[in-house]
């Protein structure tokens, strides 16, 4: 089962503030370079892309490759302009897709 955590600041946010968003998702990020104890190749299973949309507009995306550790953790800043959902989407190998969102409330 996939679990993801999204953190938006809990302190009051004013319009124009730069806020840090953090997101982490459970995923093995198997590189495809390793072999099992029996010598068989372990197939690659990684997250290829993470996209963040703020109020429907894409504000951040990242392409991931084999060198990213398990449970990818991303932290980045966005300029808060208005209240709205922050939606994260992770897309990966074997049809992996996970969406989760959090609410960003801007006051004043």
């Amino acid at each position: 089962m996939t679990t993801a955590m999204i953190l938006v600041p809990r302190t009051p946010i004013r319009s124009g503030d730069v806020v840090m968003l953090k997101a982490m998702i459970s995923h093995p990020m198997e590189t495809g370079y390793r072999r099992s104890e029996k010598g068989e190749e372990i197939p690659r299973n990684i997250i290829r892309r993470m996209i963040c949309r703020y109020d429907g507009v894409e504000v951040f995306s990242v392409d991931m490759h084999q060198a990213i550790a398990a449970n990818p953790f991303m932290s980045f800043g966005v300029v808060a302009t208005r209240s709205g959902p922050v939606e994260f989407e992770w897309v990966g190998d074997n049809g992996f897709r996970h969406r989760q969102s959090a609410q960003l409330n801007v006051t004043g």
Partner: protein
């Protein structure tokens, strides 16, 4: 990384464990929360006093063993195997409720016999390298072994996320690591020797604050 719950990857396990705590099994038996109620209240301090003796049959159980017993006895399910992600997640969610609380001494809870057996194992030379636990973790803690610091071996943070494993892991997995390190054959998973050893380590760590679920290199 460990201090910031948000950067601690073990918290993903906690989140999965909390979901499992409240999810009733499909066979109509109660979920964990159906008997125990809210995890925050009922599981507070539980991890700090485990391993413990089962009141019914007197068997000594560690926390994963206790979860497995609950699952077969009260939920009529096949227990999740040791080291499985589901069991570790549930254990992590329970262990979090003892964070900051002092580890209770097993000898104060009638487990002196297990402490003694565990200490014998701890001082027993093992494997092709013929080393005991004490020869590293008592005599040489703080010094380096292959570039890493030798710790005193206080198991206060299990289950923990080890960067080397890239996953949550149990104390038994960590102990197996040391066994293969001295080229000894590890006991089978869940063996009573592991639990005796854990009880002795908990005796040494008595009074230290629990920091589960921890992060280690």
């Amino acid at each position: 990384m460990q201090r910031d719950d948000f950067a601690n990857p073990a918290m993903l396990g906690v989140a999965a464990g909390e979901a499992a705590w409240n999810r009733p099994p499909e066979n109509g038996k109660p979920a964990c929360s159906g008997c125990h109620g809210d995890i925050n209240g009922s599981m507070r301090g539980v991890d700090a006093r485990y391993p413990a003796r089962n009141a019914v049959n007197g068997a000594v159980l560690d926390l994963p063993g206790r979860i497995q017993l609950c699952r077969s006895q009260h939920q009529a399910l096949t227990p999740e195997p040791r080291e499985s992600a589901a069991l570790l997640a549930l254990q992590a969610a329970i262990a979090l409720r003892s964070r900051g609380m002092p580890v209770e001494a097993p000898s104060a809870r009638g487990l002196s016999d297990a402490v003694a057996r565990g200490e014998m194992l701890y001082r027993q030379r093992l494997g092709q390298l013929n080393l005991s636990c004490a020869q590293c973790h008592d005599d040489h803690w703080g010094r380096s072994l292959g570039g890493t610091r030798i710790p005193q071996g206080h198991p206060t943070g299990y289950p923990l996320f080890r960067l080397e494993w890239q996953a949550l892991g149990s104390l038994q997995r960590r102990l197996r690591n040391c066994f293969t390190g001295v080229r000894a054959e590890p006991f089978p998973a869940g063996a009573s020797e592991w639990i005796d050893l854990e009880i002795y380590l908990r005796e040494r760590a008595a009074g230290m604050a629990s920091d589960a679920p921890a992060v280690r290199p």
